[in-house]
């Protein structure tokens, strides 16, 4: 599927916001991802969806970090560039299939670093569904914080945590969570695995959904490159994930 880059801006050190236009109709849920073919690289780059406007001529917002040669080159792409994307990949967050999800009134959304972007569309969806979400975004330093204002503009309270204390709560997202104990009834989390594990421990007894990351090739479930073990057998992070329910995680 062809998409055209309309914006590609550096918003924090090594972190870019890319906006594209194209057919977004395959996207059905926050937490899904796209696979981007980059000129000169054999494998596509999986990038989580920050937000999208649905439609044949829809818009797609991606926030990604330059972590290697491919994503560094991606940061150089100019508006007008046409890219080939596979979209609507992964399960995304489940917002209406389970009682515990529909019953929850005070979901806590936790994003660490470039795990923050999927929380944006998720927060919008939850607010539209008349929930009262609280967002915690964790970064290393104040300089690395991005989209604080954008998240705040959605209308949900936002807690920023920084490891060095240069903005918001000093420490990790779990330090932000400690102040909210008893005030949330559901958890949505996306970030590096050590963060997810710490969130899982801090939120003991509270149901939730955790979005994982793994090296992958295809992104649509055939190469078996990203398999992980769960309580209910092996699952492909790209197809049955990236979002897993708390009770299926083997921690």
């Amino acid at each position: 599927m062809e998409f055209q880059v309309t914006e590609n801006l550096l918003i924090a050190p090594r972190v870019y916001h890319m906006r594209l236009t194209g057919d977004t109709r395959k996207l059905t849920s926050p937490g899904q991802f796209v696979q981007i073919a980059l000129p000169g690289y054999y494998l596509r780059r999986p990038i989580s969806v920050c937000d999208w406007r649905p439609g044949e001529n829809g818009t797609l917002d991606l926030i990604y970090k330059a972590v290697g040669h491919g994503t560094e080159d991606m940061g150089e792409l100019k508006p007008g560039t046409v890219l080939d994307l596979l979209t609507g990949l992964g399960n995304g967050f489940d917002l209406n299939q389970r009682d515990e999800v529909t019953r929850s009134q005070f979901p806590l959304l936790i994003g660490g670093g470039v795990g923050a972007p999927p929380m944006y569309a998720l927060c919008k969806h939850l607010l539209a569904g008349l929930k009262a979400p609280h967002v915690i975004l964790g970064f290393n330093t104040a300089e690395e914080v991005f989209w604080k204002r954008e998240f705040e503009a959605l209308g949900a309270p936002v807690t920023i945590t920084t490891a060095d204390g240069s903005m918001g709560v000093k420490g990790f997202v779990t330090n932000g969570m400690a102040a909210l104990r008893g005030k949330y009834d559901y958890v949505y989390a996306c970030g590096p695995e050590p963060m997810l594990h710490a969130v899982y421990d801090e939120a003991a007894g509270i149901p939730g959904q955790y979005s994982f990351e793994e090296r992958m090739a295809c992104g649509f479930g055939v190469c078996m490159g990203c398999s992980c073990k769960t309580k209910y057998g092996s699952k492909r992070i790209c197809k049955a994930g990236p979002v897993l329910f708390r009770e299926e995680i083997l921690w």
Partner: protein
């Protein structure tokens, strides 16, 4: 009007395009993307007697014009394939499929192949003696002519209905010797090549990227190696070959057939361009016409005949 039909051991295919094992699952994911009945056939995910989770992750690394995988034969096991995957496949694929079988002992190969022989949905059995990502099985059988012949002979002794093709490893000194040994042991055909053993090291961690350290190298980068091996083996044996290794265009398919392949498998390219097989199938007639080819069967081995 050009003719794209080819025949593998009496089994006629509408075209020679076959997605390779490990890049197509058991068909369901691709059937969501396009009508897979356009394919000549496909080779399903390497299947073993027991279910296998495979290797730890990371299992994937990128290379220039290719990739490494060290999946380690993850599959749900032969019983699950017989009772779930094949019945599901029947609803979405009306042609016969290639059963790719792997194992850790000759007995395991024999048992899986015997079960596949009874399935009317199976067109031929592709015996993988060349998986580089498992220890004590897979490639261990394919790197010496005697072992490859022993597997071939044992499987041929129980398989009565389906043609048996042996999938060869390129990680050998003399692939022709292994090919000849399989032919002498009764193989009906050969598939070549499996992936080339390779590795990448992360400059950040200073350690191998793959949890398995090494993995199978595939993608366009290996096409010249694969083509050379098909060219050599085709001249040394009298059984049909399925050629594969880095094939990604209709032109590559024609080169592979000129080298001596009767049919051609597409592997890694399915993972980066899920529509590559229908694209090649659509382009084949015009590319054939461009090079003055009216029947694919006529060009098999044309480079040396």
């Amino acid at each position: 009007m050009v003719n794209t039909k080819v025949t593998l051991s009496g089994w006629e295919l509408d075209n020679p395009i076959i997605p390779a094992s490990g890049t197509f699952g058991y068909g369901a994911e691709f059937a969501e993307l396009y009508d897979i009945n356009c394919l000549g056939s496909f080779s399903f995910k390497g299947t073993t007697l027991e279910p296998r989770f495979g290797n730890p992750t990371p299992r994937i690394a990128e290379c220039a014009s290719g990739m490494l995988n060290a999946v380690g034969l993850q599959n749900p096991g032969v019983e699950h394939v017989l009772h779930h995957e094949l019945p599901h496949l029947k609803a979405i694929f009306h042609k016969k499929v290639i059963a790719n079988i792997s194992g850790f002992s000759i007995e395991e190969y024999v048992e899986c192949c015997r079960l596949m022989d009874e399935q009317e949905q199976i067109g031929l059995i592709e015996v993988n003696v060349s998986c580089p990502n498992v220890h004590g099985g897979g490639m261990a059988f394919g790197v010496c002519p005697e072992n490859a012949a022993a597997v071939t002979k044992a499987v041929k002794a129980v398989v009565k209905q389906k043609p048996v093709y042996i999938k060869l490893s390129p990680n050998v000194t003399d692939i022709v010797a292994v090919a000849r040994a399989c032919e002498d042991a009764g193989a009906d055909g050969l598939s070549l090549i499996n992936t080339l053993l390779g590795m990448r090291i992360s400059l950040k961690t200073k350690k191998p990227i793959l949890a398995n350290q090494m993995g199978g190298f595939s993608g366009p980068a290996i096409f010249p190696v694969a083509l050379r091996m098909v060219y050599q083996v085709a001249q040394a044996v009298h059984i049909p070959l399925i050629g594969m290794g880095g094939v990604s265009t209709a032109e590559d398919v024609l080169e592979m057939m000129l080298a001596g392949a009767t049919a051609v498998q597409i592997g890694a390219q399915n993972l980066v361009d899920p529509y590559v097989c229908p694209t090649i199938i659509n382009q084949l007639p015009s590319v054939m016409a461009k090079y003055g080819i009216d029947s694919l069967t006529n060009i098999i081995g044309g480079a040396w005949k």
